[in-house]
């Protein structure tokens, strides 16, 4: 095994008509690493991933996936990657085992089908038709089908969107177990906690650009501004500051000197969610 990065993306660009979906993105993912692309809907995550998967041509920049340009990787590259798409169905009239067998047949060295079904926790459903599965079970089927070719590199595009909390926990456990198997994983998500739980490193992406990149701890370490709020003369006053201690001392000193009371005085420290929303531009991409 070489130590070349599993994914190398340099100044990647892609436009749809006038809209620049990806506006110069650079990152690398080492082998065995779980890398998270975190951002709101429409930030360019899926476009980036679909370029890496070989679905789209880029307009500019350099990309290598397992050392190969995905535009020209062909079947040899697709032997080595696994893909979970954001929205795609599998043949509804086949059973879980039949779908796994169907896809296993496309690869030179597939994994044992029953082993994969057990890995994704569908062993009790292996004889059931795909159309009878619940939403969460269908997502696990997607994952099983992505794993059946025994890929080195796995793309997971919003793997838990629409899951209930319990199903998300299960999915997270599964991703962790894949990491333990030494798989490289590129994961997109718009959930901060998901990136935090799963990724070794995270890139926060907004409007087609990476606005912050680092380990989850480093991201949270971004010094958040603290808000000081109070009421004065019937108005709400909100002051943002990096130095809450000094500002608070000044404010209160002045108020005491003038014999005033600062009504409803509070110091608010932003939550993780606020840090993230701040990075992506004040919840520009709610939903």
């Amino acid at each position: 095994m070489s130590t070349a990065p599993a994914l190398a993306v340099h100044e990647l660009r892609k436009s749809y008509g006038e809209t620049e979906a990806v506006a110069g993105i650079t990152f690398t993912v080492e082998q065995g690493e779980v890398f998270g692309l975190l951002g709101p809907n429409g930030a360019g995550k899926t476009t980036t991933v679909e370029i890496l998967e070989g679905y789209r041509k880029r307009d500019g920049g350099d990309v290598t996936v397992l050392g190969v340009d995905p535009e020209h990787g062909g079947s040899a590259l697709r032997e080595r990657i696994g893909v979970v798409l954001q929205a795609s169905d599998l043949p509804p009239s086949l059973t879980v085992r039949e779908v796994h067998r169907m896809f296993a047949g496309y690869y030179d060295r597939p994994r044992d089908v029953d082993e994969v079904i057990t890995l994704v926790g569908l062993e009790e459903k292996s004889g059931s038709r795909v159309k009878t599965l619940s939403g969460g079970q269908k997502r696990r089927l997607d994952l099983g089908v992505a794993l059946v070719g025994d890929p080195e590199l796995l793309f997971l595009d919003e793997p838990t969107t629409g899951f209930d909390p319990a199903a998300r926990r299960t999915a997270w456990e599964l991703v962790r177990s894949l990491r333990a198997l030494g798989k490289t994983i590129l994961l997109t998500t718009h959930y901060l906690d998901e990136a935090q739980q799963l990724a070794d490193r995270v890139a926060v992406i907004r409007d087609g650009r990476i606005v912050k990149q680092g380990s989850p701890a480093e991201l949270i370490g971004v010094a958040p501004k603290v808000e000081i709020r109070y009421r004065e003369g019937g108005h709400d006053v909100v002051v943002e500051t990096d130095e809450p201690t000094r500002l608070l001392a000044e404010l209160t000193a002045r108020a005491v000197a003038e014999g005033r009371e600062l009504d409803s005085l509070e110091v608010v420290r932003p939550s993780l969610e606020d840090v993230y929303l701040d990075l992506i531009g004040n919840g520009a991409g709610e939903s």
Partner: protein, 248 residues
């Protein structure tokens, strides 16, 4: 070759497992033959009407299987994301399309045999006069209509509209081209319209080979027109065919 056979088996399993498509594509043409054959009696051009109907409905079956059925299946697979998902696997595009094509051909051959068997047993219809000539005729028919099927798949936008669009094409075409009985008493304008349609030429070719024992290669005009229609479909597909859902 291993991949092709694997995918051919997948295609067959998918076809027969889906009741609706199996009934619509496989059962419908022989069923029409069964019904129409029960009410049509008499002769035309020296052959029993049951003979005309048998050959005409083999032609309809070809358009229904290779054009309508193929297009509906492919549009549904495209819109549901199955095609996109398969694109991410090492299965080559050519292998996939070849398996789809041969699976369609196999279904049509079975259907034709069932229709002929029904004709022989129930309506005392003729068997093929030129068995050997039927082979290239069936291949040409499937090639022509499958080509058009790939073409129309590229033009249809939604899964909901697929079956309406293809049936709006196939049923009038089958009627005009003589699938449901001889057309010599049709008004002139309808016969003129029929002369534009590929199914007219397939049925003409099949009738000569099946009923009169004519040679397949004695029909260069029919062969050329069918190939041209098929090619037109392939060209449209080449330029417009997509693997990803249109509605995104």
């Amino acid at each position: 070759m291993r991949l092709f056979l694997h995918e051919l088996r997948n295609q067959q399993r998918l076809f027969w497992r889906n009741r609706e498509s199996a009934v619509f594509v496989f059962v419908f043409p022989p069923m029409l033959f069964l019904l129409l054959g029960a009410v049509y009696t008499g002769e035309s051009e020296g052959f029993k009407l049951a003979d005309h109907l048998l050959v005409g409905l083999i032609g309809y079956g070809c358009a229904n299987t290779a054009f309508a059925g193929l297009a509906i299946t492919l549009v549904i697979r495209r819109e549901s994301g199955v095609l996109k998902r398969i694109r991410a696997t090492p299965l080559p595009t050519v292998t996939y399309l070849a398996a789809v094509l041969f699976s369609t051909l196999w279904i049509f051959i079975l259907q034709t045999l069932v229709t002929i068997a029904l004709g022989l047993t129930l309506y005392d219809a003729r068997g093929p006069d030129n068995w050997l000539g039927m082979i290239p005729a069936v291949l040409l028919g499937v090639a022509c209509f499958a080509g058009m099927g790939f073409g129309i798949t590229a033009l249809i936008r939604s899964a909901e509209g697929a079956s309406a669009v293809v049936n709006l094409i196939v049923l009038p075409m089958a009627f005009l081209s003589g699938s449901f009985g001889p057309t010599r008493k049709y008004p002139e304008v309808l016969r003129w319209l029929a002369d534009l349609l590929p199914l007219t030429y397939l049925i003409r070719l099949l009738k000569d080979v099946y009923l009169r024992g004519g040679s397949f290669f004695g029909h260069p005009k029919e062969i050329a027109i069918l190939l041209a229609w098929g090619l037109l479909g392939v060209i449209i597909a080449w330029r417009r065919f997509g693997w990803e859902p249109r509605e995104q």
